[in-house]
């Protein structure tokens, strides 16, 4: 307790933001094990700082957000020039996801980027790798703690740059194209973000999350739609989803981070912030929330459709990510339509999906590490050679598909509950679509899982051996997190703003 009073929560927040940056700087100068060390230290520092923050925050409770701002641009009037920290339930959820998964990905990478990796036999560029990864982590931390749209935008663009660098990490033609594509598509979304910022400043005078709500109605709608499109681009929603499946050209741990914790989650987090910040105004706009939900549903169904065409495991997971971000936006849309349970379900789903998807990506990374292949048609019978990985994949699969007691079950049930609460003919349609999506997704994932891990071992799988211990341990931690995630997230679900 004494510690708590002497060390203010601002210091913890600053630590979570700056320690990974420091780690990034140091790791950039190193090679091999040195880079591993500094990378791990930076990410662990962020974790420790976050735990400190967590302890402070738990005392404050979800009803009393911590907030501190400093006027860094005094030439701007009022609150417009303020930067600072805002720690509330929303922030904590994204923070936990970004930092915990960030650390696990760093730990996994130490072994993944090695000459023993059959898919990419190299450990060159580790310094560069950790630099961008930790910067990515820091950017996500900053984004989570941003108290206004302007600061959020700064970190938003930072994540775009980091993802560009990491997707192109292998420097092949394909990887460079994918990185460039991600940069251009999400960057174009960022332009609309700027547009919304300008509208907010012009009509409300600052960049607060409720700024648009204070603007005239037409402006508010325009600004909200701009932010929505920006979020769509970032969160890989239809029609801007095509960069995400290409982004699997990145090293698999990066894909895991990109899909589960960072980048795409930034997009949905923006929407969550705006809906939470200007809830009264948003929920008063008729049809807006339901529109967001229906658009998300379209994304879910199109993403589902592409499941059936994939041969690359990572590509399949990428489309699953698109679908699940659709789930999150679906819930946020229901929240905006006045069913707050939907918003809470969406926030829950951010974390539930985060752990489950990381687990799946890392297992696939392990499979590629051991066999050199991620092709569904070339792999079968891996379970006999890699029992732990296949068990973990099964857990991840069940978690993503929403089988209790694993993570996504709880968020999906709440989501379905929110749909039912919405009521009316639209809800019926949404319900049926949800059922179709969930059943077909389960069917296909189960089929793929059975194919890859059960049956007679294929040539590619026959000489595989189980992943080395550090990777197996990270996977094990994620298995546990898939089970415990609901308990972690539940205290941070934000109550309905009044």
């Amino acid at each position: 307790m004494a510690m708590m009073e002497t060390v203010g929560w601002q210091w913890y927040a600053a630590g979570a933001l700056l320690l990974p940056v420091l780690g990034a700087m140091l790791a950039a100068t190193q090679k091999g094990r040195g880079a591993d060390t500094f990378g791990t230290l930076g990410a662990s520092g962020a974790l420790l700082a976050m735990l400190g923050l967590l302890a402070t925050f738990s005392h404050a409770g979800v009803a009393a957000p911590l907030r501190a701002t400093w006027s860094l641009m005094p030439w701007l009037p009022g609150e417009a020039g303020e930067f600072g920290l805002l720690i509330d339930g929303l922030c904590m959820i994204l923070l936990i996801v970004a930092v915990v998964i960030g650390l696990l990905v760093v730990l996994f990478s130490a072994e993944y980027l090695s000459p023993r990796n059959r898919e990419h036999v190299t450990e060159d560029g580790k310094g560069r790798y950790y630099f961008w990864l930790l910067m990515f982590l820091a950017a996500m931390v900053g984004l989570a703690m941003s108290p206004n749209l302007l600061q959020m935008f700064v970190f938003w663009e930072l994540t775009t740059i980091c993802s560009w660098a990491l997707i192109s990490f292998y420097n092949t033609r394909e990887a460079n194209a994918a990185g460039y594509k991600a940069l251009v598509m999400t960057g174009a979304g960022g332009v609309l973000f700027v547009g919304a910022l300008l509208l907010a400043y012009a009509f409300a005078g600052d960049f607060g999350f409720d700024a648009l709500a204070r603007a005239p109605r037409e402006v508010a709608v325009a600004g909200f739609l701009m932010l929505l499109v920006a979020a769509w681009a970032k969160a890989a929603q239809v029609p801007f989803f095509t960069w995400l499946p290409d982004a699997i050209a990145a090293p698999t741990p990066i894909s895991a981070y990109l899909h589960a914790a960072a980048m795409v989650k930034a997009g949905v987090f923006l929407m969550a912030r705006v809906i939470h910040g200007s809830y009264i105004a948003v929920s008063a706009l008729p049809g807006l929330g339901v529109g967001v939900a229906v658009a998300a549903l379209v994304t879910m169904l199109i993403g589902l459709y592409f499941y059936f065409l994939q041969d690359d495991l990572n590509r399949l997971l990428a489309f699953s990510t698109i679908t699940h971000l659709g789930y999150v936006l679906f819930g946020l849309g229901l929240g905006a339509a006045g069913v707050w349970l939907g918003f809470q379900a969406a926030m829950l789903h951010i974390m539930m999906h985060g752990f489950a998807k990381t687990l799946l990506f890392l297992v696939v990374g392990g499979v590629a590490y051991a066999t050199g292949s991620r092709s569904i048609s070339r792999l079968s019978g891996l379970g006999a050679r890699m029992p732990w990985s296949s068990f973990a994949f099964g857990v991840g699969l069940m978690a993503v598909c929403g089988i209790p007691p694993l993570s996504c079950f709880w968020s999906k049930v709440l989501l379905a509950g929110a749909v039912v609460k919405l009521g009316g003919g639209v809800a019926m349609l949404l319900d049926v679509s949800l059922v179709i999506e969930a059943t077909l997704a389960l069917f296909w994932f189960l089929r793929v899982g059975q194919r890859v891990f059960f049956g007679e071992p294929s040539a590619a799988a026959d000489e595989a051996v189980e992943v080395p211990r550090p990777m197996a341990a990270v996977i094990g931690a994620l298995v546990v997190l898939c089970l415990l995630a609901p308990l972690i997230a539940l205290p941070f679900l934000p109550p309905q703003p009044i």
């Binding site: 239809v238 059936f308 065409l309 969930a438 389960l442 059960f454 679900l493």
Partner: protein, 683 residues
């Protein structure tokens, strides 16, 4: 000091989960692991027995809560009432016997062609324990959200166990089919529960009842739609045709103790769900009498359909486990039929409704016992002969006497021959249906269907026993080295057979709790349909309401025994000689195997004319898809856009040749153009 009921229920779950942990630790040592896990189940069984006894002793059952989720107003509330106790004890008893049976059955030294060599049995026992945990949780939890969570959770270990033989593509397909079908059914339940939550405001059972009754008053269509979704969901799990079509694929692939547990207990929980939701929610919510009658007749009719189709499919099938699976579909139909009759009659003839409900409960227990028994016996046969194809078997009775005898008991019970358990259930159901047939003519038709189903069950039961245990072995297939299964497998079969007989000769054992369950669940007065439910105890005798027959199984049994004794005495007194002669084969001397009737020779008219009646439903094949070209936004939008941008850039870049002369020339030309422009403008 007696353990409090709530505590012992929690400890029971702890013991089951502890069993899973033990399995994970000891998985590499099959025998030790098996017995340790069996011990864990035995401990759980004792605790469950204690909890159940407490629950039976306290009015309103055993109720306690382990915490709540304020966000959505759900609480982890346990409620164990009489109905729950019946199912819980059934699950624990069958679970214990199946676990014990597994030890020898999966022993790599004694199993023949089972593929268990060097396997880590953690992959078997741990999900088995989780399956038991899930089943126990389903019948103990009353909060609807957590009930649903337990329900969904139960599906998962069952799937893992069905695909136990992971290298067999058929097993994988069967598992997939099972999981997807039950999952689809679960969605109906999920949506139903969420709708009840929306209208009741809380996940508690009482709130749901209140919400449903309001809904029935204001929007009856929605209320009935909810019930329809829920019914479809539970019927999928219960194995009702056609949603239960996963059973015939899953059973031949699953290890036999798992088949026994799935058919004996898990699909019965589908019936449990229907009872809870229709009798516990729907009836007390107060729909009109007409609605209830329609619902009851629909459910009962569906049950009758399932009885007939399942029975026919079983009669024409030649694989032991597939045959038994179809039999499960048929018997599940019996349970659904009786529940439907109870729902239909609850307002007009409460006594007959109670009779039908008790019939359902008896049937659940009876089928739980005899179906597990038969699956275990099929497992024993496979264990020793390596096959379940009835065409390949024969004359095993002399080599496996106990298995044969217990299988015969099971078959008699399935067919509903007194004094076995199956008869008691059938008797009650038929009585309820026939007594009220005057008021509801459809019920008479259903009763006829039940009788036909009963004949079919005798047919396929005799086929199973006849083709496996009597007759002659097929030519070229030496079954002489076959011996009786080890004791660890014999004892569970024996106990299950004893259970079948016990329930049959001691009706009060199940009828009393069945009646009090009826009162508790449906919250209606126990219209005692058995005015003369004789002395509770061994000499029980039941007499139904109105003009009905009495049934005193023990008395009948004693009389039959006496008659047998007299016959034996007469034969002894007359010094009758018993001659052993060869069978007369029209004067020919044929070897035994040519005379044998293989399984495919049974009931050929049924096969010829009715085989197609049970449609075969395969997994859908994914068609070749052409839509990607349309849906691929890259191809028609973003790539085009990028192409356009590139084209513009190229056009802009064309003048930039890199030669300084060209730039100078451009500048000169530009300057000249500006001058001309200025000259023109300033004129």
């Amino acid at each position: 000091m007696p353990l409090p009921g709530g505590m012992s229920l929690q400890l029971m779950f702890a013991a089951l989960l502890g069993g899973a942990v033990i399995a994970l630790i000891l998985g590499r040592r099959p025998r030790i692991c098996g017995w340790a896990v069996t011990a864990a189940v035995a401990v759980a069984g004792a605790l469950g027995l204690n909890a159940g006894a407490t629950a039976l002793g306290s009015p309103g059952g055993l109720v306690f809560s382990l915490g709540r989720v304020g966000l959505i107003d759900a609480a982890l509330t346990f409620r164990l009432d009489t109905l729950g106790v019946i199912f819980l004890w059934l699950a624990l008893a069958v679970g214990l016997l199946c676990t014990a049976y597994s030890v020898a059955h999966l022993d790599p030294q004694s199993a023949r062609s089972s593929g268990n060599e060097g396997r880590d049995l953690a992959g078997y026992y741990a999900p088995l324990m989780l399956l038991l945990t899930g089943m126990a949780a389903v019948v103990c939890i009353s909060d609807l959200l957590f009930f649903f969570a337990a329900w969904e959770f139960m599906s998962l270990p069952a799937y893992i166990l069905i695909i136990y033989h992971r290298r067999r593509p058929q097993a994988l397909r069967a598992g997939l089919k099972y999981f997807v079908m039950t999952h689809l059914g679960n969605f109906g339940i999920q949506i139903g529960i969420l709708m009840l939550y929306r209208h009741g405001g809380s996940f508690s059972f009482e709130a749901a009842r209140l919400g449903l009754s309001q809904l029935l008053a204001s929007r009856p269509f929605t209320a009935n739609a909810i019930m329809a979704l829920v019914a479809l969901g539970f019927m999928t799990k219960a194995g009702i045709f056609p949603m239960g079509d996963w059973l015939p694929d899953a059973h031949p692939e699953a290890p036999s103790p798992i088949s026994a547990l799935l058919s004996g207990v898990m699909i019965k929980l589908g019936a449990y769900g229907i009872i809870r939701f229709f009798l516990g929610l729907f009836i007390p919510a107060g729909p009109g009498a007409g609605t209830l009658v329609v619902w009851g007749l629909v459910l009962a009719g569906w049950g009758a359909l399932s009885i007939l189709l399942g029975g026919i499919a079983a009669a024409v099938n030649s694989d032991a486990k597939r045959l038994l699976a179809y039999s499960s579909i048929s018997q599940a139909g019996c349970v659904l039929l009786s529940i439907g009759v109870a729902v239909a009659l609850v307002t007009s003839a409460p006594a007959a409704a109670a009779l039908a409900f008790v019939g359902a409960v008896v049937f659940v227990v009876a089928d739980g016992l005899h179906k597990s028994l038969l699956f275990l016996s099929a497992g024993s046969v496979r264990h020793r002969t390596g096959t379940t194809d009835l065409n390949e078997l024969g004359a095993l009775a002399e080599r496996m006497p106990l298995t044969a005898a217990t299988a015969a008991v099971g078959v008699l019970s399935v067919a509903g021959i007194p004094p076995m358990a199956g008869f008691l259930g059938k008797w009650l159901i038929l009585q309820a249906a026939l007594l009220q047939a005057g008021a509801q003519p459809l019920l008479a038709a259903y009763a006829v269907a039940a009788v036909v189903g009963s004949v079919l069950s005798l047919a396929y039961g005799l086929k199973y026993v006849g083709a496996t245990f009597v007759g002659a072995a097929p030519e070229g297939r030496e079954l002489t080295e076959v011996t009786e299964v080890p004791r660890g497998m014999r004892v569970p079969q024996l106990l299950l057979a004893a259970g079948c007989v016990l329930v049959g000769v001691w009706p009060a054992l199940l009828i009393e709790p069945g009646l009090s369950a009826w009162g508790e669940v449906a919250a209606v007065g126990v219209g005692r349909p058995f005015p003369q439910l004789g002395i509770t105890g061994v000499a029980s005798q039941i007499t139904g309401p109105g003009p009905s027959a009495a049934f005193a199984p023990l008395l009948v049994l004693v009389l039959i025994a006496v008659a047998c004794l007299i016959a034996w005495g007469l034969s002894r007194a007359g010094r009758a000689r018993i001659r052993q002669v060869a069978g007369w084969q029209a004067g020919l001397d044929l070897p035994a195997h040519q005379l044998r009737v293989p399984a495919r020779g049974y009931y050929w008219p049924v096969r010829r004319y009715l085989q197609r009646v049970y449609p075969q439903i395969g997994l859908p094949r994914i068609p070749e898809l052409t839509l990607p070209a349309i849906l691929d936004v890259d191809r028609w939008a973003f790539d085009r856009l990028a192409g356009l941008a590139r084209w513009i850039a190229r056009q802009v870049g064309r003048p930039h040749t890199g030669r300084s002369q060209a730039y100078v020339a451009w500048q000169v030309l530009g300057a000249a153009a500006v001058m001309v422009l200025l000259a023109v403008l300033s004129r």
